[in-house]
């Protein structure tokens, strides 16, 4: 994944999609496989180089933690799972196949850990505690009111975790449906369907609240 910050200083006339506003956008480009630098780190880690693996932890901790927060809705559980994921990844890095997608492999381990945690929680009948989200300002945040953002956060939190996990991999990690499928252990079509259903559920909740009257009704054309 390459992260690029692009600045849009003006929107040309005649090209005015409402979602494009001036400001800074983070553009994530999924390269699908480890870059040269990352491939070197992975090879070193496979040879037992612990500092090399530390660099991989540095690189992926925050992203993994953020996704696990989405899944668990609990910062403490997410932190524990993130740590566990890296320890398991280190234990298994020798079996990681060179040339495949390290990020998807790492998130797959995290997904397995989350499934195990969820199973244990069900067994102990301990509900996961919703975590308060942080509102980050930016072009999108400015385009929607604070109340609307809270509505979005609430609606996302209420999504079934399978849908929430797939949607956040798509929109936060910019993963392809193929990679989402790999992480979640499902087919590509199921991954696409889960993102579809997640968006559909969000729109069902949000459209009546956020769209002008009449805009949400469908018609034949």
């Amino acid at each position: 994944m390459l992260d690029v910050v692009a600045t849009v200083s003006a929107v040309p006339s005649g090209l005015d999609p409402p979602q494009l506003r001036t400001g800074q956008y983070r553009v994530s480009i999924d390269v699908g496989h480890p870059t040269g630098d990352e491939a070197d780190l992975i090879r070193a880690a496979q040879a037992g180089d612990r500092p090399a693996f530390a660099q991989l932890i540095e690189r992926y901790w925050d992203r993994l933690y953020r996704w696990l927060c989405r899944l668990t809705r609990d910062a403490t559980s997410a932190e524990d799972l993130t740590q566990e994921t890296f320890l398991k990844a280190f234990a298994a890095v020798g079996r990681f196949q060179a040339g495949s997608n390290f990020r998807a492999w790492l998130f797959r381990i995290a997904q397995n850990n989350f499934v195990n945690l969820r199973r244990a929680m069900r067994h102990n009948r301990q509900p996961l505690v919703p975590e308060i989200v942080e509102e980050r300002r930016g072009p999108v945040a400015e385009a929607l009111s604070r109340e609307a953002l809270l509505l979005v956060a609430d609606a996302v939190a209420k999504l079934p975790s399978d849908f929430r996990g797939a949607l956040t991999l798509r929109v936060e990690e910019s993963m392809s449906f193929r990679d989402i499928a790999g992480v979640l252990g499902i087919t590509e079509e199921t991954a696409r369907w889960r993102v579809f259903k997640a968006r559909q559920k969000l729109m069902a909740v949000l459209a009546p609240e956020l769209l002008p009257a009449g805009s949400n009704e469908s018609k034949m054309s």
Binding site: V133, R136, G138, A207
Partner: protein, 278 residues
């Protein structure tokens, strides 16, 4: 085109901001779907904007330090684990001793100095067991507090107090199990020298010391006690082999050696039983 169809297509695309060509005509003619598509696009961005709070915990830094820290070099006294004569006074030299980092209880127990001290102490302990439990007084002092080391020290105390070979066998059996448990977790975190030390320690306990004690049992005691130890060693052997299959580089060989030690001990005890029956 029906609005429902158009909206379902927009929901299914990878990026709702990129409108498929087939929908452009409908969107141009339908203000409702235009607004709907704009909201859909904003929601993707809003999901990102309302993400979890940035990570502010300590676990990341602790884990980074655990992986970034140079490995400790442990110098052992040359004959610390010899079996045939009293061990010289054990000396544990740890260099350079990085400060202990808080990484939760589970990681704190993997302090390598504790392992090294435990290896040396186990040598003393085994020598002690071969002298039928006669105490030789305090041998190792001023080593770091460590749960595993505590277990080894406890085993030594129990060996000194054990009244007979059966009791000593039970102590060694528990110690073997403790070493195995330690290796099970240590294998994931510190492959290499520490694991090799543990494997050597395990071999001394289950591959040699237990056999020496079992030889001192009479036929009835062998029949009553050895099957239990053989079963424990059999399970330990299987477990070590399984662990080796999933272990990181640096832990595989020590785990395989532990499996071989358990096998060696199991076979030796079984042969003792057969000899007794013969």
């Amino acid at each position: 085109m029906n609005c429902d169809t158009a909206r379902n297509r927009m929901l299914a695309v990878t990026d709702p901001a990129a409108i498929p060509a087939a929908l452009v005509e409908h969107l141009e003619a339908c203000s409702g779907c235009q607004a709907w598509q704009q909201l859909l696009t904003r929601i993707d961005g809003a999901v990102v904007a309302t993400g979890p709070a940035a990570y502010a915990g300590k676990a990341k830094q602790a884990l980074l330090e655990k992986f970034a820290a140079p490995k400790l070099v442990v110098a052992k006294s040359g004959s610390g684990i010899k079996l045939n004569k009293p061990a010289p006074k054990a000396v544990v030299v740890v260099q350079p001793a990085a400060p202990r980092r808080p990484l939760g209880e589970s990681l704190a127990r993997f302090w390598p100095a504790g392992v090294a001290a435990a290896v040396i102490l186990t040598g003393v302990l085994i020598w002690s067991s071969l002298r039928n439990g006669k105490s030789d007084g305090p041998t190792v002092a001023a080593v770091p507090a460590d749960p595993f080391l505590d277990k080894v020290v406890t085993a030594k105390v129990n060996l000194d107090r054990a009244p007979d070979a059966t009791a000593r066998l039970n102590v060694l059996d528990v110690l073997g199990s403790d070493i195995h448990t330690e290796a099970r977790t240590l294998a994931q975190f510190t492959p290499g020298a520490e694991m090799e030390s543990l494997a050597a320690m395990y071999d001394k306990v289950v591959g040699e010391a237990m056999f020496e004690q079992a030889r001192g049992l009479n036929l009835e005691e062998k029949r009553a006690n050895l099957p239990k130890f053989i079963e424990h060693l059999s399970k330990a052997e299987q477990d070590a082999n399984k662990l080796a299959a999933d272990a990181p580089p640096g832990s595989v060989q020590p785990l395989k050696e532990m499996a071989r030690s358990a096998q060696k001990g199991r076979i030796a005890l079984a042969q003792l039983m057969q000899q007794g029956q013969g």
